[in-house]
């Protein structure tokens, strides 16, 4: 029997498992317009909710008059904080231990804040009714500058907690102060800096921006009063956590709540938290007994949902005179807006900002972060990065450049001199992390060679001379970055969200005919989970990826998980998937041995089958084993072939990369052209090279946006100046440069398949790389640092301040 079976390599290729550039199975429906997003969901009798929002950044709400709105035919209800108060839902807890108004309770604290929720028969009537709600405001002084928050004349923003001296993360020294988070050894670091022969200092601002997913946030809430079950479809990056929160807040038993994340059009951290729109829709559905839909428009999304960054990072970096770094000091002022609604693991109020020693062996370090309230929208989410990791990477990669200038040293050489060496892994950083694996020197050398770094520097020098001779008005900048990420939150012992440990899960059912379905606790928002998780399982179980359905996002069917953000799906749920696959295989081994009439230990795994050791012609394929699991009694083995795995990672994973950007700057107009971008990523084991390349392209393009123009800007009275896509920069194909991708592969030693995650690396590494290139172009004229975003006028101003227009 079985003599004609194809060779191992063919059988392996047929699985489309790990390492295969398999086309995304999701794209068949997305490219044909057959996706099913939350706004595609229709329910009989569905109502539509819309918000009355504050035009002011800080004002007392003296009265709300909804009479005219309620008189409009088709208007069903107008909810205000007074209506939510009896349910204790006028405020809600944030993920960061603070609380946030659902609807304005006596005052508003940022422009665009939710004041009243209008419910009507359709969205057109709702929009008309919003105009008819009369709100009487009394304007209050506005605080937009976090450095003025603790001045004697600063307005007190959060009167609800003004007298609380203790916050969720320790003592508060002022009503506008949220927390101080300290890591590392302050005294030792300050001593190192005091005695160091070379110290470079800089204030590095990572400006406020916004994840701006193409699909805005929204939901449909439906309370079935007959069976008592609440169903909510919504833009949720963490559906199970939403279910638990909804149960705790509403008092509805958790088994009577079903949260469904349908297709999601991008999240990038914007869809992790709970928004007032979700709460109001649920309440409105309970009150009216009808399904209620709420969908934001673009301006509402940019003005009121979770922003990202806004970190003022003051740094000092100490070194020996030959460039050995001896210490790093950082004090960050974090502008959190009106409520602390960061989506960080509970014990990390500044996320993993303490990865700010980066790729370098820095023996002594200290970090302090002060969280501050201002009259801006709440948020502080991880926009295509692990928690505050892009801030940390930007900080250290700018400080390295500033130090290189101070030392008069080449920045590539300075990096290489200070990298953590391959033999130092697992590496314990001064700020408390254990880096799992890395080979930075190999990646760095490969990158420098790929771009002919020395040749680029020669060309740059020639260009500079030509510029000085008046032959060109364009300067050339070379941006370098070597970043180290920390992703895959995370170990339950120190990572939780609202008390929920940050494990993740996978449940697999093998069908009798040898195909399968797997369900996970994560939820794809474009990452391609249906493609890649099937590939992990194909390799683990020998079932072709094309025969495996991946399903996520329905809390009634999927196992509990913490969701998708912070590049955690592959490190955590991917590990659960591999381990669940191994459980399938372990049971399959027993069945195969029985069928082959040998002892369990006398069969061995061979791609898609178990074969008798030493007799490879005697085997049972996984397909045969699956059938046997359902059609015959096997002594000592339960029928069926299913497995579930909950994975608590022993550590984070630490992807890294080496990026190099070359750009030309027109000093007269401030325009830039990126003419070369080389991105080497090491994400450990590579599951699908095509998806990795797509992720890198997307992340780099978001990095380009952030570095070169994208921002949420406020004027001095708290008006949002960038609330439309005219002013908020989203690059199109036209603005997007060509990228060259490359890789090294250093598996994670603790992950079952060695994978580390990649979705966010390009944003973490890309932003400092673009910014370093801009700064580098002006280095010869004495510039040490200029703040992002590097849009035309700011670059022009840099050139102007350096006297280049004289």
């Amino acid at each position: 029997m079985n003599e004609m079976s194809p060779p191992k390599s063919e059988r392996s290729a047929a699985l489309k498992g790990l390492g295969t550039a398999r086309k995304r199975v999701e794209d068949v429906r997305f490219t044909q317009g057959k996706g099913n997003y939350v706004d595609d969901i229709q329910q009989p009798g569905m109502l539509f909710g819309d918000f009355v929002r504050s035009p002011y950044a800080h004002a007392r709400v003296k009265s709300i008059n909804a009479e005219a709105a309620l008189a409009l035919p088709g208007v069903v209800a107008v909810l205000t904080a007074k209506d939510l108060e009896p349910l204790s839902l006028h405020w809600m807890p944030t993920l960061a231990g603070d609380k946030q108004m659902v609807l304005a309770d006596g005052k508003v604290l940022f422009q665009g804040q939710e004041v009243a929720f209008v419910v009507a028969e359709d969205r057109y009537i709702a929009a008309d009714a919003v105009e008819l709600v009369e709100v009487d405001y009394e304007e209050l002084p506005v605080l937009v500058d976090p450095f003025k928050a603790e001045l004697p004349d600063a307005p007190i923003l959060r009167e609800d907690i003004a007298d609380d001296l203790e916050g969720a993360h320790g003592p508060r020294r002022h009503p506008n102060h949220i927390f101080t988070w300290e890591q590392g050894d302050k005294a030792a670091t300050e001593a190192v800096i005091a005695e160091a022969p070379v110290v470079a200092e800089e204030m590095v601002y990572y400006h406020r921006t916004h994840p701006c997913p193409l699909e805005t946030c929204g939901c449909v809430a439906s309370m079935d009063k007959v069976n008592g079950k609440l169903t909510v479809w919504g833009t949720f990056q963490a559906p199970h956590v939403v279910r638990t929160v909804a149960s705790l807040l509403s008092g509805i038993a958790e088994h009577n709540i079903r949260i469904i994340s349908p297709d999601i059009g991008g999240g990038f951290g914007n869809k992790v938290g709970v928004y007032p729109g979700y709460v109001c829709s649920i309440v409105a559905s309970i009150v009216t007994g009808k399904p209620v839909k709420w969908i934001e428009d673009r301006m509402e999304n940019l003005m009121s949902t979770a922003f990202a960054r806004d970190y003022w990072m003051k740094g000092k970096i100490a070194a020996t005179s030959d460039g050995r770094i001896t210490g790093l000091w950082c004090h960050t002022t974090a502008d959190h807006g009106a409520f602390d609604a960061c989506a960080d693991p509970t014990k990390f109020p500044a996320g993993f900002m303490n990865i700010c020693t980066g790729s370098y062996d820095i023996p002594t370090a200290y970090l302090a972060v002060d969280g501050i309230y201002t009259n801006k929208a709440p948020g502080g989410v991880a926009y295509r990065c692990s928690f505050r990791v892009t801030e940390a990477a930007y900080f250290i990669e700018r400080m390295i450049e500033v130090l290189a200038i101070k030392l008069g040293m080449d920045a590539a050489e300075l990096r290489a001199k200070n990298f953590i060496r391959k033999d130092q892994f697992p590496y314990h950083s001064a700020l408390g992390w254990e880096y799992d694996s890395g080979d930075y020197h190999t990646a760095w050398d490969k990158a420098l060679k790929a771009v002919d770094y020395d040749g680029l520097r020669r060309e740059q020098a020639e260009r500079l001379e030509a510029f000085k001779r008046g032959e060109t008005r364009k300067l050339m900048g070379i941006g370098l970055t070597h970043f180290t990420e920390i992703v895959g939150a995370g170990p339950v012992k120190n990572c939780d969200i609202l008390g929920m440990g940050m494990f993740d899960s996978c449940e697999i059912r093998i069908h009798p005919t040898g195909s399968a379905i797997a369900r996970l606790g994560t939820i794809s928002q474009g990452q391609g989970h249906a493609t890649t998780f099937a590939q992990i399982l194909a390799t683990e179980t020998g079932i072709p990826a094309d025969d495996i359905t991946i399903e996520e996002g329905d809390t009634d069917t999927a196992p509990y998980g913490l969701g998708t953000y912070g590049s955690r799906s592959t490190p955590v749920a991917g590990a659960a998937t591999a381990l669940a696959g191994r459980k399938i295989r372990a049971k399959a081994q027993m069945i195969a041995a029985y069928l082959l009439e040998v002892h369990d230990n006398d069969v061995e795994w061979d791609v898609d089958r178990f074969a008798v050791k030493g007799a490879p012609e005697r085997f049972k394929t996984m397909k045969e084993i699956a059938y046997a699991a359902y059609n015959q009694a096997i002594p000592g083995v339960e029928p069926g072939l299913e497995a579930v795995s909950y994975y608590d990672p022993p550590n984070m994973t630490y992807p890294f990369g080496a990026y190099i950007c070359v750009l030309d700057i027109d000093v007269d107009t401030g325009e830039t052209v990126v003419r070369q971008f080389y991105a080497l990523d090491d994400c450990g084991t590579r599951i699908n090279p095509m998806i990795i390349e797509g992720q890198v392209h997307g992340g780099l393009t978001e990095a380009l946006a952030i570095a070169m123009g994208q921002e949420i800007a406020y004027d001095e009275i708290g008006n949002v100046k960038t609330a439309t896509l005219m002013d908020f920069f989203l690059p199109t194909a036209w603005e997007t440069p060509h990228y060259t991708t490359d890789y090294t592969e250093t598996p994670s030693p603790h992950h079952p398949i060695g994978a580390k995650g990649v979705g966010e690396s390009p944003n973490v590494g890309g932003v400092p790389c673009f910014s370093n290139a801009v700064n580098d172009a002006f280095r010869a004229f004495g510039l040490t640092h200029t703040q992002m975003p590097h849009d035309h006028w700011r670059i022009w101003k840099t050139a102007n301040d350096l006297g280049l227009h004289a």
Binding site: A127, E671, A713, F729, T732, H792, W793, H805
Partner: protein, 284 residues
């Protein structure tokens, strides 16, 4: 982003449209491509009870080049301007400018009539029309009249067109010589940080005629007669360009916005204008 309720009208002739406009009064507006008006309505900054859509009026469409005169119907789209071979022969600056407006999706729908009639200082065509010394045809209850583009713009969104009138066509004499439309913008789809339209004629080694206008650097387009005069008769040397640029900068009054502060805009305006002059001269 949902506008207030409005009645929609779709007349089939200019006369019918003018009549509707007169009947419905100040709560009515004509709509061409809608790329300025509809966003304003969605933001509820414009609240119209009646929209009079001009797209069913065949007489308002089309490009005619007759002898040395170019006539373009108000409802001609930017895309049609780009694709028209006769227009490309007669006035290649039109294509060069139209290609820098917004993006292809907008250009399929946005019209030249809407672009020039709305009075938005960010629009590219008004400055170009002033550079070309174009004439706008307006039709109202009292019949038809012509207004020079250089006399049309009064302030942002205020023009010589009365509320009862419809801008039906633009016409201009096909320009001779070199041309350039130079525009700096932050990204595709953006209004100009600064833009300049330049037409130059050459006689021997000297510039025999020059016309210069600029976009989004004041609350109206800026036709700078002084800048043109500085070039006319000159050998178009560095000194002449400097004088022309200085004259143009004297005529603009940019406002600070998200594109940058005033000093930046003035500087960029000078750079862009110089580039436009140099490119136009290279083609003259």
């Amino acid at each position: 982003m949902i506008p207030g309720a409005f009645e929609y009208h779709r007349p089939e002739s200019v006369d019918a449209a003018v009549k509707l406009l007169a009947e419905l009064g100040e709560d009515s507006r004509v709509i061409a491509g809608g790329h300025s008006l509809i966003p304003m309505m969605k933001l509820r900054m414009a609240d119209m009870s009646h929209l009079i859509d001009l797209q069913k009026i065949g007489d308002l469409k089309g490009i005619r080049v007759d002898g040395g005169t170019v006539t373009i119907g108000a409802m001609t789209t930017q895309h049609e301007l780009i694709e028209n071979a006769a227009l490309q022969d007669a006035a290649p600056i039109m294509r060069e400018a139209a290609l820098q407006i917004a993006d292809p999706q907008v250009r399929y729908v946005g019209t030249i009539g809407g672009n020039v009639a709305n009075g938005d200082p960010g629009n590219d065509m008004p400055g170009l029309m002033q550079c070309l010394d174009a004439t706008f045809t307006l039709v109202g209850p009292d019949g038809e009249r012509q207004v020079a583009a250089r006399d049309f713009y009064e302030a942002a969104y205020f023009t010589a067109r009365t509320d009862e009138e419809i801008l039906t066509a633009i016409s201009f004499t096909a320009p001779k010589g070199g041309y350039a439309y130079e525009k700096q913008k932050r990204k595709i789809g953006d209004y100009a940080t600064a833009a300049a339209a330049v037409l130059l004629s050459k006689d021997g080694d000297r510039c025999s005629a020059a016309s210069i206008a600029m976009t989004n650097l004041s609350d109206t387009p800026v036709y700078s007669a002084d800048a043109g005069a500085a070039l006319t008769g000159s050998p178009l040397d560095d000194q002449a360009i400097k004088t022309a640029v200085a004259a143009a900068l004297n005529d603009i009054e940019p406002a600070e916005d998200n594109r940058g502060p005033v000093a930046f805009k003035i500087h960029v305006a000078g750079v862009i204008l110089r580039r436009a002059i140099e490119r136009a001269w290279s083609r003259a």
